[in-house]
């Protein structure tokens, strides 16, 4: 197991490196305009552009540029030239809000995803299955931000059921909770629909396996077969998805939800940076997001190896 973990960690570092190269290429090589000008922002003076050119190394060769820029980003020295705020500080300030949003939403979507997926797999073909499938398909066919704005309009403005928006720190749990209900729900709906569909089809595949028939033939109760044998073995695709999705969100991927509900987290910062075309911030945020995705993917690999020893043995043998 230890060997497996070490291997995976090295793999993760390699992927992170490749991503940093990709980010570098996207922001420095792909666009057709002067990179220093873009970094310095829209209203930059020629003097500032010159400074940026020096600091970001645009007058040097590409590998040197890469090195200079990564050093700036990873030592937390990147400063947005639009708002004159250190990007690192901004991100760190946003983490509590983003984490509150993502963890709450994840609890909701996992509960409903599992419940709905399980029910519709168990009742495959029946009315419950059809109704839940229709519900899930509708859930995955909506733009999240559209749903969020409709909820905002009807539930906070029309009937004033929830407080308008904004984020309240956890020090006042009641306020914190009531301000987060709507964002949680609107973020969770898409994922709940998606997870219930994935779990359903994965369970239907597993139900066809021989060992399930064996378990039944042994005389185990249906409940036991479904929970112990079918559900447990259907978890792998759901865990894969969860690692990826949760990593995206916690790394600031809930850009739209956060900006709609005025939750000043990492995603809110990203939306702001995008709107003002604040390139240093966008670069740092991309790397920050990628870091969490790779981290959670690595966790997923560990979870796999724990759930299914064949995976662990299979990879360490090659």
């Amino acid at each position: 197991m230890l060997r497996f973990i070490v291997r995976r960690l090295f793999g993760a570092i390699a992927v992170l490196f490749a991503i940093s190269v990709l980010v570098f290429l996207i922001f420095n090589v792909v666009p057709a305009t002067n990179p220093a000008q873009r970094i310095a922002g829209k209203n930059a003076t020629p003097q500032l552009i010159e400074n940026v050119e020096e600091e970001w190394g645009f007058n040097k060769s590409l590998p040197e540029q890469y090195w200079t820029q990564m050093k700036l980003i990873f030592t937390g020295k990147v400063v947005s030239y639009n708002s004159h705020v250190n990007v690192d500080t901004r991100i760190r300030e946003g983490i509590p809000a983003t984490a509150s949003l993502c963890i709450g939403a994840a609890i909701i979507w996992l509960s409903f995803g599992f419940l709905f997926g399980f029910l519709s797999a168990v009742r495959a073909g029946g009315f419950t299955d059809r109704a839940l499938t229709a519900l899930a398909l509708t859930g995955i066919s909506m733009p999240v931000f559209w749903l969020a704005s409709i909820l905002l309009y009807y539930l906070t403005y029309k009937i004033e059921l929830f407080p308008a928006s904004g984020y309240e720190p956890l020090s006042d749990p009641g306020k914190w909770f009531s301000h987060l209900i709507l964002p949680w729900v609107s973020l969770a709906i898409l994922y709940a629909g998606f997870y219930s569909r994935v779990l359903r089809s994965s369970m239907l595949d597993v139900m066809n396996e021989d060992y399930v028939r064996t378990a039944r033939a042994k005389g185990l109760s249906s409940r036991r077969v479904m929970v112990r044998h079918v559900l447990r073995n259907s978890l792998i695709p759901v865990i894969t998805l969860f690692g990826l999705d949760f990593g995206v969100l916690i790394g600031g991927g809930a850009i739209v939800t956060e900006s709609l509900f005025n939750i000043e987290g990492v995603g809110y910062f990203a939306a702001e940076a995008l709107a003002t075309q604040d390139f240093p911030s966008i670069m740092a945020l991309s790397l920050f997001g990628a870091f969490f995705i790779v981290l959670f993917n690595t966790f997923v690999d560990f979870a796999y190896a724990y759930l299914d020893p064949r995976i662990r043995l299979g990879t360490s043998a090659t």
Partner: protein
């Protein structure tokens, strides 16, 4: 081998070429018959496509969804007809200071307070059918139809780009294996590990500033092709991976061995032997990809990294409408409903296609048709 393929063999004395396809079709029809028997409709024969079509035809919900989707496409294609003959205005024409004469009444398109006129339906002869869009006073219906063209264009063309790239990468890395596979797979891993929305946004924002220059081709920054290319690119690994997996499995099958033994070239094996066997996966992915693309387009446009103003797409319309959410919620609701209807119809149809094409969906199908006892029926 079933006796009929022996007969075919004796009837066709030319051993090369046809022999390979015989082996292929033999396997296919063999598999198809098993599925057919399992589906329990008692009919024999027909290729796998015919069987898939029969299954699809029975799925009324999927067919209805296809009809809805096609109807939406046709409406959007006819946008200029509505604009020129009914509404008499263009998608970007402003009517800020104009007045509407309805019967004896005179209404301002945009009130001095900045509130735009609501839906008029046919009261003004089709003008401002869905009202106007905020202080600029543009015709919402005309914008909706033209916006739909952008959204659908991006959804469909990006899906075509994804499909082409994914098929090429999937075939090459699955069939060649070794070094080619390692390189392609690792690149895919990196793109995969990058958050789709963030990657698309980064590219979108970078290209929205400077435009895209590839050699002699210069794509203008306001071009629809920029979001299209970006979306087509970012979803490629999601389709290439499963295709690669399938090629890996197919590569070991007898009909490929037969083709190699008969001296078929690599191109022939890739495109004549392997590709047709991937078709059902490709079709399903392509369909569901359209749905995802349209949603991603909406997010990108909403954040300013997609379709650039003054062009409209359903995403930009939602984001424009959001500015006036509390005074005129309809401006947000209308384009969102259009996206929901279109994407939902594509998703439902794609689901039906998967059930019809994917042999693995046998369980689902049996359960639905009620021919086999649903395995979970006794549980819980």
């Amino acid at each position: 081998m079933p006796p009929e393929s022996e007969k075919q063999g004796t009837e066709a004395p030319i051993p090369t070429g046809t022999g390979a396809s015989d082996a292929g079709s033999g396997i296919e029809s063999d598999g198809a018959r098993v599925i057919d028997a399992d589906a329990g409709d008692g009919r024999q024969g027909g290729g796998p496509w015919a069987i898939a079509w029969r299954r699809l035809r029975r799925n009324k919900v999927a067919l209805f969804s296809l009809a809805v989707f096609l109807l939406i496409c046709i409406c959007c294609l006819l946008a200029p007809v509505w604009a020129n003959h009914v509404a008499d205005t263009g998608p970007n024409t402003t009517h800020t200071l104009e007045k509407l004469h309805e019967g004896g009444e005179v209404k301002e398109v945009v009130e001095p307070s900045g509130k735009a006129i609501g839906p008029q339906w046919f009261a003004a002869g089709g003008k401002f059918f869905l009202g106007a869009d905020g202080h600029l006073g543009r015709d919402e219906m005309v914008r909706l139809l033209y916006g739909g063209r952008s959204s659908l264009f991006i959804g469909i063309v990006a899906a075509i780009i994804t499909t082409i790239l994914a098929v090429i990468f999937g075939l090459l890395s699955g069939y060649y294996g070794g070094f080619t596979d390692t390189v392609i797979s690792r690149i895919m891993d990196v793109v995969w590990a990058f958050p789709v929305v963030l990657l698309a946004l980064s590219l979108g924002i970078v290209l929205a500033v400077g435009g895209l220059v590839i050699g002699p081709i210069h794509v203008k920054q306001s071009s629809l092709w920029i979001p299209t290319l970006i979306i087509g690119f970012v979803y490629t690994p999601y389709m290439a991976r499963p295709l690669r997996g399938e090629v890996l499995a197919l590569r070991e099958k007898e009909f490929i061995e037969a083709a190699v033994a008969q001296g078929a070239g690599t191109t022939r094996i890739l495109f004549v032997e392997l590709l047709p066997n991937l078709m059902s996966t490709i079709i399903v992915f392509f369909t569901l990809n359209i749905a995802n693309n349209m949603l991603l387009e909406a997010v990108l446009s909403y954040l300013g990294a997609g379709v650039q103003p003054p062009s409209s797409s359903w995403g930009t319309m939602i984001s424009e409408g959001f500015g006036a959410l509390y005074s005129q919620p309809l401006l947000t609701i209308i384009p969102g409903t259009a996206i929901l209807l279109t994407v939902l119809s594509v998703n439902v149809f794609g689901d039906g296609l998967r059930d019809a094409l994917d042999p693995k969906s046998k369980v689902r199908f049996e359960a639905r048709a009620g021919t086999a006892e649903p395995e979970g029926s006794a549980a819980v």
